[in-house]
Structures are given as structure tokens and as C-alpha cells.
Symmetry: C2
Subunit: 747 residues, 2 copies
């Protein structure tokens, strides 16, 4: 039995296999992203083997940043090693034109499938495809292509590396060199600006050229391919050939599936009672995992992962706030390496700060391999006038800097990883504190520090002052920097001395951080209404709802935001910063405040960002609005599967997987409904399930210990791994339990 | 002999009489403004008596601010008491349709003239009109209308108060009550929001109704009219009737002309060698005088004076920087009362500061009778989208506050009016200093105070930081406030004690002003290029010229400025703030700096403001570029006469007389070419005449003494008034002279 999810889209009852029937060109951008094969090193879009660049085929390779058009630095898309086409009577058998098409993604092993049936004269021809990106050898892609015919037919089989490349912003590999030896095809090219050599190799096993298929017979083409760049090895071409030829399809498939089993063991959450939610959650976990370069601490998590080149294969604040926390209780080493990435790219952030006239480190709004700012000054176009719009995402949306630091604090709370603090966290915190101290401006008259000219998470309202989210995050980051300095002074004086010397830190700088921490203007709940103003003057803006604002559009493709969009002079937000604040600093405000602000801001929010629903869902859970939280969950989990977001805004392609929504979905399931948190040296579990969920179960990895939480109705069961070397202390709805290795406790 | 000025426009050789031939509907807005009769209390547009509201007839009355449309507060236009129409065979004799039309303005007496010739059947009919606003009784308008016929003709003469009213923004007098007694007609109405009663009375002398004119005969209608409001007297209707009936046309004309003779004696500048420059200069002096409410210290000088309702009959920074200085050496009591106006409206400026979260007094960008901000948040419309544009003239263009204070300093330098300082200037300076201290923001990291989020005189670049003009003006205003405090401490301790007590001034506030004065970020000339950057980041903007920017317009009516106009991302300015700075703070920078910046900024300036050329001209004189200065002079003097400015920008009507250009023209002639200035206790005269000017002569009134300066070629002659009670000390090209009463000295 298949379970319907949306038009043409179903899944199996176990919630592992996604199936899409039919071929809708309007969904081709989304479908190719949704059914992506990937592994954090590469992404291969869910397209069929005969397709080409006009149907958004892409092999996106990490660590290949290049600027080909003088404007956008982005990842390189490589030649396609999995191209296979069958031509009968001059016609290519194509999914696009087949009367019956089915594509699928088996989340359990990350295996893409396709099946399409065509009729040529008297013969019915069926093409079947199976493909995966290896979770075992990250350079490897493998594909099995099968053609079956019910009547004898002669086909021309073309299996090769296709060097026609879909690229968003310029040709990164202007000269691709194709070569072949006895067994392996190769395509090599060098990126136009950064000079990275990218090599793709494919071993094609099976009959090519003119092939006669007997009635009831089949042809099989197995391609094992590899991608390697000169950022990996000195001779990427040789290495690609070696890997492509090292093993056949079945051997590769087995090794990859085994690795996927381990990954799912660490992160799989099961939902009972709602298969759509189950598969949406798995889809999110899958994509959050394959967008993450878990194999290295040198690379960012892209806002669209490796599903296409959109958002430049680069990290935004989403990385820390949405993607990273989904690993904190599953594979905390990934959370760590994500933060180490920020440390490795500190010099880029220092260059940005210096360029803009600040001290310390100001993280790029769009951060690639070096940490230098990748966000162009101009990227939107006013659809009404054709004029470029100068947005200030890169210089005014500075909350990314404190956001990274507050996530360091969160990482330490969960992991207690003091070594990280000493080796990386302290330097990050200090350099950001320096930046913040140089950013804030003091108002002598009122004796407060202001943050001026901001862009908060609500990106439609630029150029605002004293944004509630930003100011509170700034204060929290400064407080953490001061605490870290005190902690290192007490516990790690030698390390502190070395760091102080290396970055030239002066004692009066730390005093400055203290002063700003203590006198920062922090928007507070109103005494009467409990409302926190999103930024200075927000409540004076026109108080209308999103539908009214939408009705004012002259063109459906208009950008709603600054400087002239329909939302700018109104209280309608892309996502409300105050709800973000209530999520990220939940402890700082009481339930009444959380409720008042959720109720005020939610109806005024257009949810114009895929980041919005997860934040709303977390706050809705906190105030006991579980069914509304469930609605937010569904919207964030299904944004890509149901293709509800825009692929193009203001003339800029922003398609691809919304990886932050994926991370947010996972957090909302486990930390929201599942109620998982940490309080000092114990885990806390305080679940509240949606009515539709009869059960929820999730694994936890915490400070070297493993356990699984199972919630069924009111019952909560904690099972500690046999392999644990100590008891786990867990507070279940406030009742503390110690769960011994192998034991199960109920709360 | 008449001297051509422009299409259809001439003047007499003496440079007093302006004549326009023909009737061009496209020039009707400008012509009606140019040939305005006015006296600082009222303005009556230069239209013919048979015209109505569709041809921009207007009687604009000062001190009648009213908001009728919920958006714009502006002066009221009153019913027209000078309406006269002659109807022959059902056709009104109209200038619009006459084959021959001539209108004129005799600047010497402010007398409007019109003459138009029509043919009806066999008869040639000539209408002649003479009209003036009394300079003697400011409530009075008088008009003589004559109809001559060369063949017998019967006309229907209609002379009355026309209650059809042209108003820009709503009906201010929705119910006009018309009445008549034996001799006088009256029209009374009450403004819709402010409740000001406005009464217009007209005594019409002459035959009305059906009148037969014999061949070679004439009919004459003399109208003496008066306008009075309830802000003048309790019973404006009675007062208007009284004044309308108090004297006939000739008696009124004689009294007014006598007063004009006194006014011209105080201000008339003669130019030899160029009649067009002569008349342009007189035109400017005339309008600068009649736009000024010299009879009161309660009212502002409007940016369009009383020539129409545009710019709300309200003062901008133009009042202090452009209009006021033209009186400093002619009628300094007018300069004084203009500054007293700022003092009287301090409470409005205090309310604005408080509303925006500042301390002290923040002068309105558009200041009417109360000093409250009249500038709406939204006034331009994006012509490409029809969307309103939120400009920040009212909250970001804060240089108006220091501009007023620096002009107080200038006024004191010229007049040495210590009483003014004690009674008004000190409070103004202190309250502005308070505002400035609360406005600036301290950057602890660099130890400097910034001005953030500014709009400088170059209004196309909003939201800029550390604008050179603004920051330097802020520092100068603070320095003056500190000096004033020190001076009062030493010389007027009782007055200071009273003021300190009244405004609650604390000693630490003055310390704060000192601190900001000493640590203000002051953009300085570059060591290599001598260039001063207009604002932080200006030199990073696209370096193109105005023609290139103009070529990018999609619609000729587009607003060029913030946020999305074609000039915003470029170095093209509406007027360059650095040139303004070099004019207003000439002493602060050397000649090389002045030259480098003039040469850099002038070609990048679109002269999109009528304020621009005067500033350029003053700096051009200073660096010896006299012919370029002369070109600037002509452009500023002729802006209205040649109608070179736009009457509508971004959908907003901004027609009318550019009174700031008028004041700028006068300053450029006398203080620029004429080289008049003051240095401590002596006048300084250091002229540089354009090649086309063989001579220049101007009157000076200075510290109670009168003199006249005559420059002919290299010769400079100073004649002191007989009535002087002391010698005048004058430094002529650096050589000091003492000129005794009645004596003439040559330099």
C-alpha cells in the first residue's frame, strides 16, 4: 500500500521509500533536488540518465569554489559520468516523453530509482535505473541502467561522460578534456578562476553502440564513477580512474548500504501514527546529513547543500542555528567539526571585519572555503523596473557573528567539550566579541549601547536599529566571551596566555566587552502587553496581514522586502525575529511572554522563509500549542517534497533543497515534540506529542553514551546501550533516572 | 530698446521692467510665480483678472496653515478679490485666447502689468491691467483694469470676488460666505482643520453689468482689496472691509511705491555691462524680499515664498543659509527676526526631538508657524510603479539644526548683536547642542563620535554616515554652544543663571558638548589628492557623470534619489555637500583644498537642486574661477525666469519661486563677486568681477552705519552715508580705510 503525500507523490507504509509518478516539467527543479544522491562530498541530482543540462542534471562537487562570471563564486558542476541513452529509430527513449514514468528515492540507502515505459512500433521498452552516491567512498557514484523489451528491437546505446554542464553563473570548466583507456572514461577540466582541477572518471560495463535486444531480453549498463579534485590529491585524474575502476556496482552498493545503516542507527527517528510525517522527517534527516561535509572540518554546510549551485554551496547562519543542532545529540563530532570550520575560516572573517572598518572577526553572510564574504552587493532585480536592488545582507545582517558564538555555548552545554573551548571556541568568542565591541555605538545621553543599521532574520526589514533578536544575541555572545575569558583565566592560564599573545588581546578589551554586555539596549516585554518590539519603531509600521500585503503586489515575482517591497512599511515579516529570539533564548523569557509574542507575530508572518516554521513550531510547543506546532512541523518537513517554496526570487535562482528546513524539522521532532534537552550534567526529556502521533522514538548519543527514547502515549521508555560504560542520568518530566548500560527505564 | 532674456521674455535697458510676450500654457505655472505681487504677508500670482483656478490664479495668505487632506499642512489660498472679466457676445475676453498678449513686472514698484488685444466682429478691444500688493499696508492689493475699444461695443463687465479656489492639497475653505454692502464685497471662510477665519474684501469702483463703450472710449475698474485673518485681528471681516475701503487705487499706489523706494535703497545692486545679469539680480532681490515676512518674527520664509502653496509656505534650512544672509548687510533686523522665529518655535523643535527619542531641539525639516514637523513621511511616488516612496527628509536630514546655529554665529559676527545672543541665541545654541549630543554615537573602539544615518544637502544619497558637511556643521554648532556658554558665564552670569534654570541645563551637559566637539569624526582632505569624501564610502560608489546617469532613466519623471533612483549607487550628486562645506566653512580649508574639491565634485553634480549653483559660484569665486562663477550666477539668477527647474517631481507639485536661489544670487553678487565680508570690527571688500561686468555697486548697512560700494574695473570707491554717526572701518583688498560720514574713499 502506498501512502499519498501530494500530487503524484507517495511513500511506502514504512516511511522509507518515496515514489513520484508522472513527469511534470514544472516540478523538475524540485524533483531533481528531492531525489538527490549525495554524501557531503558530492551531490548528484535525481534526474534520469538520458537527461542533459536543460533538465537540470548536475553533479555538484564540494570544495570547488570558483568565480566564472566576475560576480558569483559558487561550487563547480562537473561533467556527468552517468549519462546513458538508448536511441531507437532515431528517437531517444526519454522519461520526459514516456507515457509512464516513476522515480523514487529509497531513503534507507540513499538509492535513486527510475522506471519509464515507452512504446516503439510494436515493442514495449522499459528502462530501469538504480543509482547511489557511495556513503562509503565519498568520491564514488554508481548506477545500474537496464533496458527491457517485449519484442526484438535494435537500440543504439550511448553511455559516456556527458560534458554538457548546467551551471548557474558562468562556465567553471570552459575546457573539458575527454579521454578513454581500455576500461575507464575520464573528463578533466580546470576551474576558470580558482584553478581547481576536477576529474571525473567512469567505468562503463555493458554493451554500447548498436545492440539488438531479443524479445523478452534486456541490456544492462553498470557505471561506476568517481570525482576527485586537485583539492583532494595531486593527480585527481589518476585518482578518479583508480576509484572508478576499483569495484563494481554490487560491491559498491553493499558497502554504501552498510554505511547508511550506521548513519540511520545514529539518527533515525520513528513516528507512529502518521506515515507522511514519518517520511517527511526521514527525508529531512537524509538531506541534513548528505548536505553536511562530515568528512572534513574545512568546509561549510551549504544552504542548498549539494543539490545545486544555488546559495553558492556556502554556509549562512542557518548552519549553526538549523543544521548543526540536529547533530548535537546524534553525531556530536559533526557539530564539532562544523564549528571548527568557523575557526579555520577566522582569517576570512577577520578580513571582512577589517574591510568594513571593524575589529575582530565578522563572519561572512555567505561563507565558503576561506570564510571571505561571498555575498555580492547586488543580487535581486526589481521585476517592475528591471533595476538591480542593492541589498545589505552582507554588511547589515551581522547577527551571524553572535549566532555562531551562542551555538558554541550550546555545543559546550550539550557536550561539555572543554578541549574544543580551549582550542577553538575561545578564539572564536574573543574575535567575535572584538567585532561586536567595534560594531555597537554608545549613546552617552541614555547610557546604552545600540546596534544600528541591522538586518535581522526578518530580511524584509533592512536598516533597522536595536533589533530584538540581534541585540539579545549580541549580549549573549559578549557574556559568553567574558565567561570564557574568566574560565580560561582560572582553568587554562597557559592556553589563555598563548592565545592572548597570538591575537594581541589587551585586558581593557575584556573590560569593554563587560561594559557593552551590561549596558546593551535589550528590547523587553511591554509591561501591559508582554510584547517585545521586533526593532525600534516596528509597532509604528502599518498593522496589516500578509494577505492584504500580497494583494498589493503588482507582479507575483516581486521581492517583498527592502527597500521598496510591499512588506517594508508594514508589520508583515518574512519570519518574525521575536519568535526566533524566543526559540534561541527560551530561558530568558517566561511562558506568558512567549505566548503573547507568538500570538501577535504569527498572524503577521508571511512565512516567506523556509526557516520560519521550525522556529514557530519550537515556540508553539513551548506554550503548549501542540496542534499548531504540528502544522508548523508539516509545513517545514514538506517544503521541498511538496515544492511550496519559490525557485526564483527577484530574478535569482534559489531552488534546491532547503537544508535549514531539514535541520529545523529534525530539531522540532526531537527537541520540540520529543522534549529532549540538557540541563547541566543530565539529559531532560519532556515530550508533548501531536494528537496524530501515537508514538515517537529517537536515538540519543550524549557524552559518549548511547540511548534510545520511546514515547508511547503517556509512557516514556529509556533504553541505554549495552556498550555504555556508565549510567545515563536523565530527568524525565522532572523525575531523575539513572539508566544503567543495557537497562530500560520508564518515566 | 528691449533686451532679450529668453523665449518671449525681455527687459528694459535699465534692468527694472520684465516683459513677457505671448501666452504659453506650458509656462503658466512659472509665469504666474515670476510676476507675483507680494509683500511678505500675501502673494498674488501674476495671472490676468479673468483667469480662474485652472490657470493657477492664487492669493496665498501667510499665517493660515491648515491641513485639509489629512496629509499636507499648507498655507490657505483665499478667494480672488481681483476677478474682472468682460464678456462680449457670450465670449469672455481672455489673455489665453487673445492674439496679442503682453505681461510685465516692474520690479521698482512691484507692479504687475498685462495688456491683451482681441478682436470682436469689427471692434478691436484692448484690456490693460495694473496691479500691486501694497508694500505700505500689507493686507492690501490694488488693481486697475481698463478696457478700450476702437469701435462701439457692448460688454458685460463682471467684477467680483471669485470664490473658485486653486488649492494643492484639499479645500481649506470649504464654505466661503459671499456678502456685499453698498461699497464693499466680502468673502469669508474658516479653514477646515486649524479654524482660521480668512476674510477677503474688495471695493470695486467702475461700471459693471452691461456697459456700452463708445468708439475710442474706455471703461476702468479699480479694485482695492484687503485680506485679513483671525490670526491678525478678532474680526477679520470688518478689518478687511475697512482696509479695502480706506483709500483708492492711486493713493494706495503712491504709498506702496514710496515704501518700495526705501526697500530698494537698502538693497539695490547695480551691475554695469550686462542687463540680463542686472535684471536677474533685481528679480532675485525682489523675490527674496517679498517672500520674507519682514513684518513679524513669528513666521518663516517659505521655500517657495507666497508664490503658491508648494513646500507648504514653510522654512527649510534654505531660510538660514540662502535667504537670511542676503539681509545681513542690508536690513539686518530682518535677519534677526528670522532667527527670533526659530527661537519662538523652539517648542515645536523640542517636540520633534522628543518624539524621535532625542534631547533638546531638532528643527523641523519643514517648519511652519509652530515649529512642529510639517514634512510627511511619504511624498514622492515612484513613477515606474506608482508606489509611494518613504523618504527620510524629516528625520535624517538633521543638518538643519546645526545650520541654524552656525548662522546665529554668522549673524553675531556681522552685527555684534550681543542682546540677541543673550535673549535668543544662547537658548537656541544650547537646545541644539543638547539635540546633537543625543544624536551622535560614540565608537569606543576608535574613540570618535559619529553622525549616523544622515541625509546631507545632496538629497539623493540618504542613509549615509559621517557626511562631511553635516559632521563639520555639527562640530561648529557645538563649538559655538560651548563658547556661548563660556561667554555668558563671563559676561552675563545672571542671564545664564536664568536660562540654565529655565531649561534645566546641567554643567555636565556642557562638558559633553566639549567632548563631542573635540572627538567628532571630521572628514579631512586626503594627503595626496586634497579631496574630502562626501560621506563614508562615497568614493567607492560608481564614478560616472550626470549624462550617463540620465541616460539610464526609464521615465523622465523618475526621482533620481534614494532608495532606488539612478543616482543612488553613483557619485552623481544633486548638489555636492563638500562644496557646500567649502562655502559655509571657507576658513577651515585652504585654497588648494577648495580647488581640488570644486574640480572633482562639480562635473559629478547634476545641479538637481536650485540651491546648487550659488554654492558652486561662491567656491568658484574663492578659487579665482570667475568666469565659471559667472556661469553659476546666471544659472541661479535665471532659474525661474527661464523656467529651467521642474514643477513636478515624483508626482509632487514643487512649482513656484525658488526663493533660496534668489537669496543665493544676491549673496553671490555681493559677497561673492562684490567681495563683501566682515572681519572682527571691520568690513572687508575684495571684489573679483566677471569680465562682462564693467561695474558693480551695492549698498551696505552695517552696525548702524550706511555706505555704498562702487567697483569699476580695478577701482573701488566707498561712500559713507551723511547720516552716519561714526566713521566706517573698511579693509579694501587688505588696505584699511576709515571712511567718515559723507566721505568717499577709494581703495
Amino acid at each position: 500500500m502506498s501512502v499519498p503525500l501530494g500530487p503524484g507523490l507517495t511513500c511506502d507504509e514504512a516511511g522509507w521509500l518515496l515514489v513520484e509518478r508522472g513527469w511534470d516539467p514544472d516540478r523538475s527543479v524540485a524533483a531533481g533536488s528531492n531525489f538527490l544522491c549525495g554524501n557531503g562530498y558530492l551531490g548528484y541530482r535525481g534526474t534520469t540518465p538520458e537527461q542533459g543540462p536543460d533538465e537540470f542534471v548536475a553533479l555538484v562537487v564540494s570544495d570547488t569554489y570558483d568565480c566564472a562570471d566576475g560576480h558569483w563564486r559558487e561550487l563547480t558542476t562537473a561533467p556527468n559520468p552517468l549519462f546513458v541513452a538508448a536511441v531507437v529509430d532515431g528517437e531517444t527513449l526519454a522519461a520526459r516523453s514516456a507515457p509512464e514514468v516513476e522515480t523514487s528515492l529509497d531513503l534507507r540507502t540513499g538509492t535513486f530509482g527510475a522506471r519509464f515505459r515507452s512504446r516503439v512500433d510494436e515493442a514495449e521498452l522499459v528502462v530501469e535505473v538504480e543509482r547511489f552516491a557511495s556513503a562509503d567512498d565519498l568520491h564514488v557514484l554508481a548506477q545500474r541502467w537496464t533496458l527491457r523489451a517485449d519484442a526484438e528491437v535494435t537500440v543504439e546505446v550511448d553511455a559516456r561522460i556527458d560534458d554538457r554542464i548546467w551551471s548557474l553563473n558562468g562556465e567553471h570548466l570552459p575546457d573539458v578534456h575527454l579521454a578513454a583507456d581500455d576500461t575507464v572514461l575520464t573528463a578533466t577540466g580546470t576551474t576558470v578562476e580558482s584553478g581547481v582541477e576536477v576529474a571525473v572518471a567512469a567505468r562503463v560495463v555493458g554493451p554500447t553502440g548498436a545492440v539488438t535486444v531479443p524479445a523478452g531480453g534486456e541490456i544492462v549498463i553498470e557505471t561506476t564513477a568517481a570525482v576527485v579534485s586537485s583539492n583532494d590529491v595531486d593527480d585527481p585524474s589518476a585518482e578518479a580512474r583508480r576509484r572508478a575502476g576499483a569495484a563494481g556496482y554490487d560491491e559498491r552498493a553493499e558497502a554504501s548500504a552498510a554505511r547508511w545503516a550506521e548513519i540511520w542507527a545514529a539518527m533515525d527517528v520513528t513516528v507512529e501514527g502518521d506515515v507522511a510525517d514519518q517520511v517527511g522527517l526521514r527525508f529531512s534527516a537524509y538531506h541534513n546529513r548528505i548536505c553536511t561535509p562530515a568528512h572534513t572540518d574545512r568546509l561549510p554546510i551549504g544552504a542548498r547543500g549539494l543539490s545545486c549551485q544555488a546559495y553558492q554551496g556556502a554556509a549562512f547562519w542557518d548552519q549553526e542555528v538549523y543544521n548543526l543542532p540536529a547533530f548535537l545529540f546524534t553525531e556530536p563530532e559533526i557539530a564539532r567539526s562544523t564549528l571548527v570550520y568557523r575557526h579555520r575560516t577566522l582569517d576570512g572573517a577577520r578580513r571582512k571585519a577589517a574591510r568594513l572598518g571593524y575589529d575582530g572577526a565578522f563572519f561572512a553572510w555567505i561563507s565558503g572555503d576561506t570564510g571571505d564574504e561571498l555575498c555580492p552587493d547586488v543580487f535581486f532585480t526589481d521585476v517592475l523596473t528591471g533595476r538591480p536592488i542593492r541589498n545589505h545582507f552582507n554588511d547589515w545582517q551581522m547577527h551571524v557573528a553572535p549566532d555562531v558564538v551562542t551555538m558554541i555555548e550550546r555545543y559546550l552545554d550539550v557536550t561539555s567539550d572543554e578541549r574544543f573551548l580551549v582550542d577553538h571556541g575561545a578564539e572564536l568568542a574573543f574575535e567575535v566579541a572584538r567585532f561586536l565591541h567595534s560594531f555597537v555605538r554608545y549613546d552617552e545621553w541614555r547610557g546604552v549601547y545600540h546596534c544600528i543599521r541591522l538586518l535581522g532574520p526578518d530580511e524584509w526589514h533592512e536598516n533597522v536599529d536595536d533589533n530584538a533578536f540581534t541585540n539579545h544575541q549580541v549580549r549573549k555572545a559578549l557574556a559568553f566571551a567574558v565567561e570564557t575569558h574568566e574560565r580560561l583565566t582560572a582553568d587554562h592560564p597557559d592556553a589563555l596566555a598563548e592565545l592572548t599573545d597570538r591575537i594581541g588581546l589587551r585586558p581593557e578589551e575584556v573590560d569593554g566587552w563587560r561594559r557593552v554586555r551590561d549596558r546593551m539596549l535589550l528590547p523587553q516585554p511591554d509591561d501591559d502587553t508582554d510584547l517585545i518590539e521586533q526593532f525600534a519603531g516596528f509597532f509604528e509600521l502599518e498593522d496589516v496581514r500578509p494577505d492584504e500585503v500580497r494583494s498589493r503586489l503588482l507582479d507575483p515575482g516581486e521581492y517583498w522586502g527592502w527597500p521598496n517591497g510591499v512588506a517594508v512599511a508594514t508589520q508583515v515579516s518574512k519570519q518574525p525575529d521575536v519568535v526566533m529570539l524566543l526559540w534561541q533564548q527560551a530561558d530568558a523569557f517566561g511562558d506568558d511572554v512567549a505566548r503573547a509574542n507568538y500570538e501577535y507575530y504569527e498572524p503577521r508572518c508571511a512565512h516567506g522563509s523556509t526557516l520560519s516554521h521550525a522556529a514557530h513550531g519550537m515556540v508553539a510547543v513551548r506554550i503548549g500549542e501542540i496542534e499548531r506546532a504540528h502544522d508548523h512541523f508539516r509545513r517545514t518537513a514538506m517544503v521541498d517534497l511538496l515544492n511550496t517554496a519559490h525557485a526564483v526570487v527577484g530574478g535569482t535562482f534559489i531552488g534546491g533543497i532547503h537544508t535549514a528546513a531539514c535541520g529545523g524539522t529534525y530539531q522540532l521532532a526531537v527537541n520540540g515534540f520529543g522534549g529532549l534537552d540538557v540541563d547541566g550534567d543530565r539529559l531532560t526529556i519532556d515530550p508533548q506529542l501531536p494528537a496524530a502521533w501515537s508514538g515517537l522514538s529517537y536515538p540519543v548519543r550524549w557524552r559518549g553514551l548511547g540511548l534510545r527514547v520511546r514515547i508511547t502515549g503517556d509512557a516514556i521508555e529509556i533504553t541505554a546501550d549495552h556498550a555504555n560504560d556508565a549510567s545515563v542520568r536523565v530527568a524525565v518530566r522532572g523525575v531523575e533516572l539513572d539508566v544503567a548500560p543495557g537497562a530500560t527505564a520508564s518515566g
